[in-house]
Each structure stands twice: as C-alpha cells, then as structure tokens.
C-alpha cells in the first residue's frame, strides 16, 4: 500500500514538473513578473493553447501546404548523433571457458562480439532520446531505447523505456566502455548475460547538497533470461500486483580531492520476485568504488584508476534461502595516449544445488591482465590473458584474447 502511494506521488510530481518546466525558464537574476502580471500571462497562454487546438475538420489542402513548406527546412540542419562500434576478437582457451557474458568471446577461434549502433539526440527542449541497438551475426537486439527528461525542476529526472538499470558501476555501461574484453563474472551470474536491464521507468534526484549525491529508483520488468536472471528470468509469470516488478534503488556520491584525484562511491539494491515458486523473492545488494588519479594537463593523459564492486544475493527457494556473493577488483593504468594496461581479479561463490547454475557448485576465481594500444581515439587493439580457477574442475582454464574495436560516426562522449 505504501509503495503505491509513493509511486503515485512520483508520477504526480513528474506530471506537474513537465507542465511547470516550460514556464520555469526565467532567470533568477532578473526580476520576475508581479503576481497579477503572471496571472494575466498564464491566462493568455491558456487562451493561446485553446486557440491552437486544430479545428475538427481542417481542409486537407491547408495541412499539405503546412507540411511541405515547414518540414524540409526544419529537417535539413538537424543533427542526429549516430555511431557504429564494432568488436571482434580472436580467442584461444585451454578448455571450455564456461563464459557467461553475452558479448564475451566464448570459444576458441574468431568471435563476433557485437556491432553496436548508438543513437543520441535531443527530441525537443524536454526530452533526450538514447538508443543502443546491437547487431549480432544473426539478429538485432534493442539493448536500450529510452527517453530522458532534460528540464524537470527540483533536480529530478525521469528515464522511461528500455534501459540498463543503475545497479553498480559497470552495469550501466556498454562493452565498448569497458577496460577488459569480457564482462565480470558476478555481473553475468547475478544480473544476467546482458546485465540488468528491462522496460520500465526510473526517477532520479540530484540532491541540493554541496557535493554530488544522486538518488535513483526504478521499476522494470522482472522477466528476461538475459537481463533479470535472478528474478523471473526466462519464466514470465505475468504481473498480478505491484510486487511483481523489479525495483532498483541506488545512491551515488562523488568526492573530488583537488584537481587530480576523484572518488565515486555507489550503493545499490534490487528487489523482485523469482521464478522458484509462488511469492518467492530475490534481493541483491551491491557497492562500488571508483578511485582515480589523473593529473590535469598531463601531456600523455596519464591516469591510474582502481575499481571494486561487490555483490550479495539472497534468493528464497522452496524450503530454504540461497545466499551467495561475488565481486571484482581492477586496476587500469593509462600510461600514454596510446598505451594502457590493466589487471583484474574476480571471485564468485557457488552453491551446491543452485537451480540457476547447477554446475557452479563451488567458488570460482578468475584473473586477467590486458594491454591496449590505441592507434587513434576511435580504435583500439587489446590483448588479454585470463586464468580461470573453477573449484569444481580439475584444471584452470587458460585463455588469450586479441580484440579489435572500431568506432565510426559521431564521437561518442565519455562519461565518468
């Protein structure tokens, strides 16, 4: 009941925000209109809106003139940020690598990791559109397609559509933003081969505190083998109540230490139903830390960054509750403009009799080392070596991956 009230309030806030956003463009430095003036202006705007409603039967000829004269000039100069990013890899593994990420090179030989089409554009002064289509060798998949508000008051922002949830640090990003060729094991095992994503809506709030503190909450589909595997996964049981959605909440805080040091810290949680039986639920909690040293103005753009993410998961299954955990830590050193290197260590626990991963009966550890060469800003060649110790196998899996990544089109912007 309380959840329903909260959601109702959020929806109302958003709707009033959108209608007020248009009027709230005045600048505080300039004196605002007096109350009486403001009322007169609002009435006039209301009258204009009423007058602008198209008459019921507009002559078709008039409609045509309007579209032919206005549309071409308007469309001529509009820019749409479009880019294609290709990831292909050659890999060698000493035995079956049991990879779990949807874009991981998963076999010895050549691997097509994906061709991503990224589209970004402002729709109007109120919305921005973000779309990410991924072409695999045999199909297309809409990874993300959402609208994001640009001008809600009070530091609020809504995203709605198909989107990656803001659980942790790496989940909100696409493979071309990763330092390593493959996805961390814990992300694949707990969130899904494609990470945690779904259709839904998210409200986030940038608090008025003197440092960056952002709170976000989203409500998305709890089904999807690829993208909500600890929840309903491949068994879509339908929506019978407000509790059948997947809820994600996160807090992100940023602390700059001078111009050169940065620290981003996040706490996340996910709650939703799972498919193991009626009323059974899953909870996942995570924390992520990103510490970076990047001396401003370094001629080689040197940077040293350290990322740690840790997840804890609890699932109700008939007769018991399954609890497991996992995480990774990585250090990446951008040595010069053209060279980068990094190391990563991962640990994920396993449970005998886990219905999702029956083979994964014990813990698994993986270590990776990579060296990257950037011929330019729009291409990179990575060589990565993996050592994967699965406690239930006799020998570790060794792997070597050579990846080529090429980006064409609009320059994708970097996010922190």
């Amino acid at each position: 009941m309380r959840i329903r009230t909260v959601i109702g309030t959020c929806v109302m806030l958003c709707l009033t925000g959108i209608s007020r956003g248009a009027l709230a463009q005045e600048v505080p430095g300039s004196p605002g209109p007096e109350d009486a003036d403001r009322r007169a202006l609002e009435e006039a705007l209301g009258a204009d809106r009423a007058a602008a409603r198209p008459p019921a039967a507009m002559p078709p000829a008039a409609m045509q003139t309007a579209s032919t004269t206005v549309a071409p000039t308007a469309a001529g100069g509009i820019s749409l940020d479009l880019s294609f990013i290709l990831d292909v890899a050659g890999a060698w593994y000493s035995q079956d690598p049991a990879t779990i990420g949807g874009h991981d090179p998963n076999r010895t030989g050549f691997n097509f990791q994906g061709l991503e089409l990224a589209i970004q554009s402002n729709v109007d002064p109120y919305f921005r559109f973000v779309g990410t289509m991924v072409f695999s060798q045999f199909g297309v998949e809409v990874e993300e397609a959402y609208g994001q508000t640009l001008s809600l008051p009070g530091g609020l922002q809504v995203r709605a559509g198909q989107m990656l949830t803001r659980f942790g640090r790496i989940n909100g990003t696409h493979p071309h933003q990763w330092s390593f060729v493959d996805q961390p094991l814990v992300v694949g095992k707990f969130l899904g081969s494609e990470g945690s994503r779904g259709l839904g809506a998210e409200l986030s709030w940038l608090t008025p505190l003197p440092w960056f503190l952002e709170v976000s909450a989203s409500m998305t589909d709890a089904a999807g083998e690829c993208c909500a595997r600890s929840f309903l996964g491949g068994r879509d049981l339908g929506i019978h109540g407000i509790g059948d959605f997947l809820y994600t909440a996160a807090i992100r805080q940023f602390f700059p230490f001078g111009r050169d040091w940065s620290l981003l810290w996040g706490l996340s949680g996910q709650w939703g139903p799972n498919a193991s039986g009626h009323g059974n639920r899953t909870e996942i909690y995570g924390t992520d830390l990103y510490l970076r040293y990047r001396p401003a103005g370094h001629p080689e753009r040197m940077a040293l960054s350290w990322t740690v993410e840790g997840f804890y998961r609890a699932r109700q299954v008939p007769g018991t509750s399954l609890r497991d955990y996992g995480g990774y830590a990585q250090m990446v050193w951008q040595i010069t403009r053209r060279w980068e290197t990094g190391v990563r260590y991962e640990f994920v626990s396993g449970l005998p009799g886990d219905p999702l991963d029956p083979e994964w009966t014990d813990h698994r550890q993986r270590a990776a080392v990579q060296a990257t060469f950037y011929p330019s800003h729009d291409s990179r060649i990575r060589l990565q070596g993996n050592g994967d110790w699965m406690a239930w196998r006799q020998k570790p899996v060794l792997g070597a991956i050579l990846n080529l990544e090429l980006a064409v089109g609009a320059h994708g912007a970097h996010t922190f």
Binding site: Q25, G29, T149, S151, Q157, F212, G297, V408, F416
Partner: protein
C-alpha cells in the same frame, strides 16, 4: 514537515553571502569564463568547467561538473564540436532546462565569429580528428575575442535586461582595448622580414592566431589532427623547417614536448609553449593572457 524545514534551513548556510541574486553563468573553457567575468562584473558569478591546463578536447567529465551545470542560469560554450567528447552527457545529467542546447541561456560563442578551416568536402575520419564545422581554436585570436566579448555582452543583457546597459558598456570598453592590442601586435610582426614569419605548430590549434598576426604555418608535428607523430613525418617536418627557414615551434601546455624540443634543437630554434587559457585562479585577465600568447610568439620570432 518540521524536519524538512530544518533541513532546508541548514542548506541555506551553504548559499553564498549577501544573497543578491546574481546571474550564475557556467563557461566550458577558462578564456570564455574570463570574457563572462570581465563583461558581467559584479552582476555575474562565473564557474568554469575546464582548467587552463586541460586539453579542451579531453576534459575530465567529473560529476562535480554536473552540479555546476545544475545550478547555472546560463552556459557559454566554445562550440564547433570542441566539447563534443565530454559536454553532452553532463548537460543531459544536469536536469536544468536553462542550459540545454538552444535554450535562451545557452550561447555557442562560435556563432559569433567568422570560421576558418571549414571543410569543403565531406569529412572522412582518415583525415584525423577534423571538426566538421571548422577549426574550433579561435580563443587565441584577439579579433575573434572582440566579437565574442560583444556577443557575450548582448547575451547577458538578454538574460538580465536590468543590467544590459552595464554589460554593453563593459563589453565596449573591453572590445576597444582588444582592438588596440590586436593592431599593435600585428604591427610588431609586420616589421619582421617575411622569412621570420614562418612557424611550425604541434596541433592545428592556431590558424586564427596566425591569421591575426600575419604568420605562415609551414607544417604541423601531428601528421593529421589528433594523430601522434611518427618518425617519417617528423623527418619531413625537419626538412620543411630547413627549407623554409622556420625556426619557431608553437604548441600548448598539454601536448608532448620531446619531439618539438628535438626539432628545435636540430634547427637552432625555439619552442613556444602557450597557456591553453586564462588562469582565473591566479587573477589573470583576458589581456594578460593574450599578452602572454602574442608576446611569447613574437619574442621567439624576433630572436
């Protein structure tokens, strides 16, 4: 409810002293920040996103910049895609309609100047990091800055009509001193023989500066914009320098210096390292910065 009020009360301590509602303007680059500060005077509070040491193509999009944009009434950008690699996500996350592209509080300063290096054929990335709208590095040029200063004056006047006369006056004064300065410097260069007016640049950062000062760029150390130099290209640059008599290499602080210094040593010339923008933290003014830029180049050419 009471808790909320107490919380808001606590926050009010964080607001700046003397709560006269000043226009809060964010500028992407330090030189633009200096223009806004000098034209806006006391009516305006300026925040700059990039530091003067940072390459404006690769500014670190740290989340504290989102806060600046969230609280700004206006945003002044360099434009011509110089900030395309870092600004759009910050703008989108700022949750502030006033500073979005196209809003009344958004000014793209490149719309105020005549642009150079505008590609006449379709842009191909094999040409390097070409800016499709033209060369974006106009902030080294006192003549472009004259126009930017006047444009910023009008922009601030539109946002804060009460201050418009003051912005207009300040902009005219500053533009006047820029004009006197640019003529004086151009005259100093015109006194030099033609063969002394040839220079080499690291990146194609200075076509506006060279046009103002009447200098000729004979080569760039980068083979194509944004592509690091290779030995073959550097050897050609050396040959060009010997053939044309160019002895001065001009670059910005964030570019690597070893190649430039080696080339300069081989021809008995000098490397001029120009500061990327006005250093507001040290109280530098726009004219101080331009004096350093033009003075540095001219001094090297004269010796």
């Amino acid at each position: 409810m009471r808790a909320t009020l107490v919380f808001l009360g606590m926050l009010s301590f964080l607001a700046p002293e003397g709560a006269v509602a000043r226009l809060r303007v964010a500028a992407t680059l330090p030189t633009l920040g200096a223009v806004v500060k000098e034209v806006g005077g006391d009516r305006v509070e300026v925040s700059v996103l990039a530091s003067p040491e940072e390459d404006p193509h690769y500014v670190d999009p740290r989340p504290n910049l989102i806060l600046v944009l969230n609280r700004a009434d206006a945003l002044v950008v360099n434009g011509l895609d110089l900030e395309v690699g870092w600004l759009p996500p910050l703008q989108a996350q700022a949750r502030n309609g006033r500073i979005q592209t196209g809003a009344p509080g958004y000014l793209d300063a490149s719309t105020l100047i005549p642009r150079l290096d505008v590609p006449t054929t379709p842009v191909d990335r094999a040409q390097g990091d070409i800016h499709p709208g033209g060369n974006p590095h106009y902030l080294f040029d006192a003549r472009s800055l004259e126009r930017v200063v006047r444009g910023v004056g009008e922009f601030l006047g539109r946002l804060d009509p009460e201050g418009a006369p003051e912005y207009g006056r300040r902009a005219e004064t500053l533009a006047g001193s820029l004009e006197a300065f640019q003529r004086e410097q151009a005259a100093r260069i015109a006194a030099l023989p033609v063969e002394k007016r040839r220079v080499v640049s690291y990146h194609r950062s200075f076509p506006y500066l060279y046009q103002w000062l009447g200098l000729e760029e004979v080569a760039t150390i980068e083979p194509r914009p944004g592509i690091p130099p290779d030995p073959g290209h550097v050897a050609r640059v050396l040959a060009t320098m010997k053939a044309t008599g160019a002895r001065v290499i001009v670059q910005e602080t964030w570019q690597p210096r070893n190649t430039s210094q080696t080339l300069a040593r081989l021809v008995g010339g000098t490397v001029v390292v120009l500061p990327g923008g006005v250093d507001l933290s040290r109280g530098e003014s726009l004219l101080d910065h331009l004096r350093q830029v033009a003075g540095g180049v001219i001094h090297a050419l004269q010796h």
